[in-house]
Amino acid sequence: MSLGPAEVAKIAHLARLAIRDEDAPAYARNLSAILELVEQMNAVDTTGVVPMAHPLDMAQRLRADEVGEPNQREHFQAIAPRTEAGLYLVPKVIE
């Protein structure tokens, strides 16, 4: 499958990733080449093959529903770009 700059812009939006217009053709070329590579998979009939999501057959462990982690809000917010009164600041979302 071949992608053009417009499709790259659409995917970039889904990924919340700013791509400069002048870079879009190069990404389109690279992405098309990568998709061509991965489409080699189509040479094999995989009808009935059970998909493997994970290397180990294991059940997800559960833990007791008890508080394990202590509150470290100040410690963790010390590395945040902007905080105020214990909250993370972002541009206004609701007018």
């Binding site: 970039a12 990733l17 998909p51 999501a53 979302v93």
Partner: protein, 484 residues
């Protein structure tokens, strides 16, 4: 001191030949002298290293300590280190001071190892040459024009240049084994689930696995013994006892069945690399091993499947870097969407963006079945190939990488060519098996690695098979002339 292995350094410390502090000073001096040339370290933690070394010396005076007490190591900059910048080779984390230690870091600290610093790497471990690092590439100590491999290129270069006797690495598609091969050191990617991923910045969670890099299999055994083990904080950590890897090293190889996958010796493999690998196989025959041809018929599908699965997982994992809670934030965002997109656009480099875009595409509505589901089915076929092969053999051997180290800049503009550098390593991650690379010779000045692949949790066997070879050969003792 810098030419000694971890085992020898441990013995020297125990015998009082030198103190941990003297040892750390010697390595810090070497780093100060050689790192400007090699760019193997992103961050050097001289002060805390000296504090750790003095603490290790004091522990030793008070009583028995383990084999790693006072031994200097380095961590790939993907492992969170409390109070120390953890950049993952990315601009987006350039000023990220980790607020906690990764389990691997915690365990090695507890063993008394001394952290010299954080090593260079491809951005978010996405790369095979170290050239995607925001901090510029590390260089190969055997030839400064050559790449050290990647993504754990800084760790491999630092070990090869004797700037540290050992280092941690991570391996999602070959990122421990390929740089180990290209720099002439020994490295092992354990079975998925053997080493905790907690605090190890995630790239592709169903493939990522941490492991040690050092000059010998014996040193890797010492390091892995300290790194491995169950961790309730990692939901895919395996609750299974850690064997004594050092005790298993000397087992004779008589009757060992080594499988050679015919697919690993065909088109694409450099002829001179093939000759070096065949000579290593001949050495194994002399050590008593039986060599058997095996087939991994779906090998050629490993790279295609990987470049769906890894980007898909990465696009999800890297969504956390949003400019809100930590990491780079763009200037003057006009709204929330602008904050997300520009922070990420400015923070990530080109290869990371490519993989996020591929993954986002593969998971998007209408394409999921054709790409992601298909790749998971191929993954099953690849895993079944190994299962069948291990019914006949104990370990699988072949080249780690199809060529020796290539030159800086040679492949950086062509992602597909770069991806093919991992053609023999990627299937191992898809299956979740352990894999090891050890140095077995040179083509010109540049080292060649032999890859050994084991069955699930057979790390002890892989280290044993590598160790026996290192008892009768000296490739692992060769040092690059400029750093001997």
């Amino acid at each position: 001191m810098h030419d000694k292995t971890i085992a020898q350094l441990g013995a020297g410390l125990a015998a009082g030949e030198f103190s941990g502090e003297e040892l750390v000073r010697a390595f810090l001096e070497r780093i100060a002298r050689h790192n400007p040339q090699l760019n193997a370290f992103i961050t050097i933690t001289a002060e805390s290293a000296l504090t750790q070394a003095r603490a290790a010396d004091q522990h030793r005076q008070r009583g028995a300590v383990g084999p790693l007490a006072g031994v200097p190591i380095a961590h790939k900059d993907i492992f969170c280190t409390n109070g120390v910048r953890t950049s993952c080779g990315s601009r987006i984390l350039d000023r990220f001071i980790a607020p906690y230690d990764a389990t691997v870091v915690e365990k090695l600290n507890a063993a008394g190892a001394v952290v010299l610093g954080k090593t260079n790497m491809d951005e978010f471990a996405m790369g095979s040459s170290n050239e995607t690092s925001f901090y510029g590439p590390a260089r190969n100590p055997w030839d400064l024009k050559a790449v050290p491999g990647g993504s754990s290129g800084g760790s491999a270069a630092a070990v090869a240049a004797r700037l540290t006797p050992g280092a941690t690495g991570t391996d999602t598609g070959g990122s421990i084994r390929q740089p180990a091969a290209l720099c002439g050191v020994t490295g092992i990617k354990p079975t998925y689930g053997r080493v905790s991923r907690w605090g190890m910045i995630a790239y592709a969670s169903s493939l990522d696995q941490g492991g040690p890099m050092a000059r010998t299999a014996e040193d890797c055994a010492l390091l892995l013994g300290a790194m491995a083990g169950f961790d309730p904080r990692d939901s895919t950590s395996v609750d299974r006892p850690v064997p004594d890897y050092v005790a298993a090293l000397d087992r004779p190889l008589d009757g060992l069945k080594i499988g050679l996958p015919k697919e690993y010796f065909g088109e694409g493999l450099d002829g001179e690399v093939a000759r070096v690998v065949e000579a290593a196989i001949a050495e194994y025959r002399r050590l008593g091993a039986n060599i058997i041809e095996v087939s991994l018929p779906n090998s050629q599908l490993a790279i295609p499947a990987y470049y769906v699965i890894a980007p898909a997982e990465c696009s999800s994992n890297l969504a956390r870097f949003d400019g809100v809670r930590y990491g780079h934030r763009c200037e003057n965002p006009k709204d929330l969407l602008d904050l997300y997109t520009r922070s990420r656009g400015e923070g990530f480099g080109a290869e990371v963006k490519r993989r996020i875009l591929v993954g986002t595409f593969a998971l998007s509505a209408g394409y999921y079945d054709a790409y992601y589901l298909k790749a998971q089915q191929i993954r099953r076929l690849i895993s079944d190939d190994f299962r069948r092969a291990f019914e006949r053999v104990d370990v699988i051997a072949g080249p780690t990488s199809p060529t020796v180290a290539f030159n800086l800049g040679e492949k950086v503009d062509d992602p597909i060519t770069m991806y093919l550098s991992d053609i023999y390593t990627i299937a191992v991650n898809l299956a979740g098996l352990p894999g090891l690379s050890l140095p077995v010779g040179f083509v010109g000045q540049r080292p060649v690695g032999l890859q050994l692949i084991g069955n699930y949790f057979a790390e002890d066997r892989l280290l044993n098979v590598a160790h026996r070879y290192q008892q009768v050969t000296d490739w692992h003792r060769r040092a690059p002339a400029a750093f001997a």
